[in-house]
Symmetry: C2
């Protein structure tokens, strides 16, 4: 069966985005510091249509995390746009431009109904209003036996973690502090809901912690 | 010159002790989960007068962290006893019994004056009331060229981190959540005050992150 896999970059003080998140500053103040390790990588550059880049210890980790994925789930906050009902006159279509880097079905958790969006390059956004389990079931069907990526943000991830629905979690721990912002592990409880540390990978400017069900 | 070295075990959600810390529960609820990796180690057992134990990837990390140390600094909360002025009728002498596992001078940050305590096995407790820098200066003198361990707790560590006085930091990241308690990195700011990740060691049930000035 498809596994639900989650990966996120986190600061040493536990923040997955900085303070003052907004449409103009989607990662919050200082939030880019969490992602500095990924920007030089060749595979990240290819994914975003750029040339060049390096390979290092993070390459295999990212290759693995992005292999065999047939669908993505994300929260409304990560998909973006102003909170509340969707604007009809000026519809928000995500942060990623006309050809988003998913190239498969994406399911967006929201409280507000909206028709599906078909983008270039094989990406579709389907808006799910009946909760995380319903979104997971739809994603499983769409993934056709492949795995499902839980893309975030923190609030959506917490819902799936608390429900014990996450099968694999990759925490890319950035060696910095943010001092404020959104914490991934807030109200998730005092255990990892069946996940155990199975592998640690030391890479340039990041430590990858891989958790899975054993 | 003596380096100030700090090591602490932290949960994946950033807690260095669990909720409801007290004299009866010095690590807080669930706090022992942070230290499960250290208990089977031979060197930890030897330090506490026990036989047996194993060696694994943590052994070299701990050997290094405890080598060449000539003095220790700790906060009042870590030394323990009820807050406020020291009891004369029933004096608190620490958590560690008559022969504490330090075997060198220990400087305790406190707001309340107290005469030094001489314990068995070479450990002395000196109570410093004029602040972290004064304690560091006294510890440097006492260490005789060797390094100084900043033993914690979190509050004392934060004071030294914020002041940029920590030269080396070992975070032993336990693969668990505590869901509450005391956070090490609360109010320390949005950078590591000159410390950079220099090494990651994957060990049984723990990931060691070593930070230093470069």
């Amino acid at each position: 069966m498809s596994r639900l896999r989650f990966r996120i970059s986190m600061s040493l003080d536990g923040f997955t985005s900085g303070p003052h998140q907004s449409v103009d500053m989607p990662l919050g103040a200082g939030g880019m510091k969490l992602h500095e390790w990924v920007l030089p990588l060749r595979q990240w550059r290819v994914l975003h249509g750029l040339e060049g880049g390096v390979e290092n210890e993070s390459t295999a980790v990212l290759d693995e995390a992005t292999a065999n994925v047939g669908a993505t789930i994300m929260g409304r906050n990560m998909f973006g746009g102003h909170p509340g009902p969707w604007s009809v006159s000026n519809p928000w279509t995500g942060w990623w431009g006309p050809n988003p880097p998913f190239h498969h079905p994406v399911f967006v958790l929201t409280h507000h109904r909206r028709e599906p969006l078909t983008m270039e390059g094989g990406t579709t956004f389907t808006f799910v209003t009946d909760g995380p389990e319903a979104a997971l079931n739809q994603a499983r069907e769409a993934a056709g036996g492949k795995d499902i990526t839980l893309a975030g943000g923190a609030q959506a991830a917490r819902q799936y973690l608390r429900a014990g629905l996450v099968d694999e979690m990759l925490i890319s721990l950035a060696p910095t502090l943010l001092g404020g912002g959104e914490r991934l592990f807030e109200g998730v409880g005092d255990d990892l809901h069946g996940l155990q540390l199975v592998r640690t990978v030391a890479a340039a400017d990041v430590t990858h912690l891989i958790y899975a069900r054993r």
